[in-house]
Amino acid sequence: MKGIPVSTTVNGDDVEFVCDGRETLLDVLRNHLGLIGAKEGCGTGDCGACSVMLDGQLVCSCLVLGAEAEGREIETVEGMADGEKLHPLQQRFLEHAALQCGICTPGFLIAAKALLDHNSSPSESEIRYALAGNLCRCTGYDKIVRAVRAAAGDVRRQQKARARRKAAAQN
């Protein structure tokens, strides 16, 4: 077995690892980097529990090879909070009881963030289709959709506050 050396960025940190050419990005995150937030629910891209962002693109990390991470930027659930401050999605998931067992939660949070990053005013239907690649067996999705809707409001408020600050700085 010849290992492949890979240099990449995970949640803003420079990371280097050596992986087998057959190992998935999910294997690497979990087994080499100790980032267990992404879960393997199926290994075939059907459940979304392993969702991460790769160069700003939502992917199933079980369908990406570890070696493909070379020179890319990876974001995982471990990087969502800003220090002590939870991301609005994390906060709203807690407030709305949008998780029961919680195994699918990291994947949902990443997929929902991918949605809100480019659409902070999604309709119910847009939320439901954006999350249709993530399976949850506990909740019936009801409270997840409500949490994402509430978080979208938070994100819009943050965007407005930023815009106001920017305008004030320019004046």
Partner: protein, 752 residues
């Protein structure tokens, strides 16, 4: 100390509020550790070789080449799991299911296993194991398996179904009372109908996973995703010949179970591999393995006969329920027979359950196990009867619903129960008046579940700063730690945030039954209340000692000891700080057999839209009304209602094990075994009713399971209303609905 479990109707300060769950931050930041999320020094990777045949004699297994592969540390077959079951037939079934013994009984049955230094080596080693199979005729269908000429799955099965002969019917049980034949003679209208439901899987998103470590000193540890660490310890210890106390089992966070994690599958194999290799072994099932070799619920075939008077009273009811148990005998038909008629007050009632073995994986409990299929058959027929009599289906159910004092079809006489209130709530619900669009229809159905209490133990340790560590032994499957912390805080009179609830491992607490039968919050709630009262007793003693007065003159109120008739009080914090001088650490404890789990009823309303061109059904509106006894944390009660409904919707419309002619499972993955996704479902409306359980201090009933019982029939009744076809085969997948629409059109044309 004896504690009274009678309901007292106390006023709550905390119970019933929607607090944040204590395990929440870990779960939204990726820190929570599930079955596959732990690692041990020097750990190996375990992998299991599975039979590709539905039924085959194993003439030999050659493991020599696998053993020689560099990096392979242990290879095991059934020879490494000797029979230590000592005549315990059920335990032997578990042993044989963990590893085939001479015969592979279903596609996916484990035949050998390896432990290797990495996953790739383990996979390679499996390919080097040569198994010499002689393929045998198989049977996977319940009705086919009952025929006299069917291939025999288990030669050791005997029952009264075919006395003295080999059979696939492992048991026949009958429940009911009255004279059913006389009842039918009095009926003005009789409906007879047959139903089929296909096999479904619990579909938890977390595959079975464990980390096992056994040393030559006979000591072992198991980290595992399970619904019951104590039951797993007992099972594994018995199968491996270990002493219970030498095996410490820790339950990880659990990524869904729904009954599927009440059963050991690969865990004894992982322990046997670890023992042989003398290294920790991590074994994680693939999704394909989960589908092929763990969990599923029964497939069924059910006949129902219902007789009623023109006035709308049911006078006789009979059901024959045939449940596939997989390759091993179960009690699934019996539970189905018990649950079938439980919603109704019927003078003459009978149900017969059959346990059928087939060449499929061993069936495990799935949320209110066996009740959804029986409910589908019964509640479809009840609606048919209402239609035939020209009575509103809710009114017809109200006329026949069980009430306090009704003798249940399965034996006991009901105390205060919630079926009539749920039906009354349905009648008044705005959902019933919502407008239906084109191709849309409405259906409703009721459901019942027994609920369970069982053996329970809790410890409540008070820290010197006055905060509380609560240890319980029931695995938290969906927010129970929040509920139990609320209960402890309520009893002690302290803020919720000052209680931290911990799920104890098997070395840290007395035995607890599993989290099953909707017992977690009911039974651990009861033990927590009693443990808190035990602690309060000690706190009162400490205060009495401090003040030099009699204990009887010390009351406990709002988190404080109060000297009666005097203006003196000591807070829990003050008492805890002084504990080293007043008698040492303060901790409450309780063990209880939590009897008196109140039965649970629900009524669901469902609107669907059926596309007549494709046969596809979309659920457009859904409402759950259920009795919770007392909702300790309403968010998570609603969550149970919604989750059960969603699973029922999947079962009703999509989910199905598809077996080929060759007896192999053709859809062992989430792509082809399609569970509902977010865009398939509407918001699921819930209404919590609280009819106190008289046998619990807070009136709590289990809430987890009942919600999966009504959906199958509610949706079938709605589809019938929308498309004008009565569906008798679940799942009501597009091809089945299209075929039903087509044959109904042809029938109409013929009779024109």
């Amino acid at each position: 100390m004896q504690h009274d479990s009678k309901f007292t109707n106390q006023k709550f300060k905390l119970v019933g509020t929607r607090v944040m769950r204590p395990d929440g931050v870990d779960k939204v930041t990726g820190r929570a550790r599930y079955g596959a999320d732990t690692f041990a020094p020097g750990q190996l990777v375990g992998a299991i070789l599975r039979s590709p045949h539905a039924h085959a004699k194993i003439r030999g297994i050659d493991t020599r080449r696998a053993e020689k592969l560099a990096g392979v540390k242990a290879v095991i077959t059934s020879a490494d799991l000797p029979d230590l079951t000592d005549g315990d037939a059920e335990l032997y079934n578990v042993l044989e299911n963990c590893m085939a013994r001479g015969k592979a009984l279903y596609d996916g049955h484990a035949v050998a296993a390896v432990a290797a230094s990495d996953a790739e080596t383990a996979r390679k080693a499996l390919k080097l194991i040569k198994v010499d199979y002689k393929v045998l005729p198989h049977v996977t269908d319940v009705d086919e398996a009952m025929k006299p000429a069917a291939p025999i799955v288990q030669p050791r099965v005997r029952s009264k179904y075919r006395p003295g002969k080999r059979t696939n019917v492992a048991g026949v049980t009958t429940y009911g009372h009255g004279d059913v034949d006389a009842g039918f003679a009095k009926a003005d209208v009789i409906i007879e109908k047959s139903y089929k439901t296909e096999q479904v899987h619990q579909g938890y998103i977390e595959p079975h996973a464990c980390l096992a470590s056994v040393g030559p000193d006979g000591q072992g540890e198991l980290w595992v995703t399970t619904q019951g660490q104590f039951a797993f310890r007992n099972r594994c210890a018995a199968l491996l010949g270990m002493e219970m106390s030498q095996l410490k089992v820790t339950s990880s966070e659990i990524g869904g179970g729904f009954g599927g994690k009440t059963h050991v599958w690969a865990e004894p194999v992982a322990l046997a591999l670890s023992r042989k290799a003398n290294r920790p072994v991590k074994l994680v099932m693939s999704r394909e393995d989960v589908f092929r070799a763990s969990g599923p619920a029964s497939s069924t075939s059910i006949d129902v006969k219902l007789g009623a008077t023109r006035g709308g009273r049911i006078v006789a009811a009979h059901a024959e329920l045939r449940y596939g148990g997989g390759a091993f005998p179960g009690i699934w038909g019996e539970i189905g027979a018990m649950a079938a008629w439980a919603c109704y007050d019927i003078e003459n009632v009978r149900s017969v359950g059959y346990e059928v073995v087939v060449n499929r994986p061993k069936v495990a409990a799935y949320r209110a196990p066996s009740a959804p299929m029986a409910g589908f058959a019964v509640e479809s027929t009840v609606t048919l009867m209402a239609e035939k009599l020209g009575i509103d289906p809710v009114e017809f159910r109200l006329k026949n619903a069980a009430r306090e004092g009704t003798r249940a079809s399965y034996g006991p006489t009901y105390g205060p129960i919630g079926i009539v209130p749920t039906l009354e709530a349905v009648k008044k619900h705005p959902h019933m008046r919502a407008r239906l669009g084109k191709n849309q229809g409405r259906g409703m159905a009721c459901g019942f579940w027994f609920n369970f209490g069982g053996q329970t133990c809790a410890d409540l340790a008070i820290g010197e700063d006055g905060t509380v560590a609560l240890s319980v032994g029931t695995v938290d499957v969906g927010g129970a730690r929040a509920s139990l912390s609320l209960i402890a805080a309520e009893e002690l009179g302290i803020p919720y945030e000052q209680v931290r609830c911990n799920i104890a491992d098997t070395a840290s607490l007395g035995y607890n039954d599993m989290t099953d039968g909707s017992r977690g919050t009911f039974s651990s709630g009861m033990a927590t209340i009693f443990a808190a009262r035990d602690a309060i007793e000690q706190l009162r003693q400490r205060a009495a000692k401090t003040w030099g007065i009699a204990v009887k003159n010390v009351a406990w109120k709002d988190g404080k000891a109060i000297a009666k008739g005097k203006r003196k009080s000591l807070t829990l914090k003050e008492l805890a700080e002084a504990s080293s001088n007043t008698g040492g650490p303060i901790s409450g404890h309780n063990q209880v057999v939590a009897d008196g789990a109140g039965v649970s009823f629900a009524s669901h309303i469902c609107d669907v839209e059926v596309d007549p061109e494709t046969g596809a059904t979309k659920v457009v509106r859904y409402t759950v009304v259920q009795d919770a006894g007392k909702a300790v944390h309403p968010d998570y009660v609603e969550g149970q209602f919604q989750g059960g409904a969603a699973q029922g919707i999947g079962w009703a419309l999509n989910e199905e094990y598809v077996y080929g002619e060759d007896g192999r499972l053709q859809n062992p993955g989430f792509l082809d075994y399609r569970i509902p996704v977010c865009s398939d479902l509407p918001f699921i409306d819930t209404q919590i009713l609280e009819i106190p359980n008289p046998n619990h201090p807070y009136g709590i009933r289990g809430v987890g399971e009942t919600s999966i019982v009504p959906p199958l029939a509610a949706i079938a009744n709605a589809v019938s209303d929308a498309a004008g076809v009565r569906m008798t085969h679940v799942p009501m997948s597009p091809p089945r609905i299209l075929a039903a629409i087509k044959s109904s059109r042809e029938e109409q044309e013929l009779t024109r």
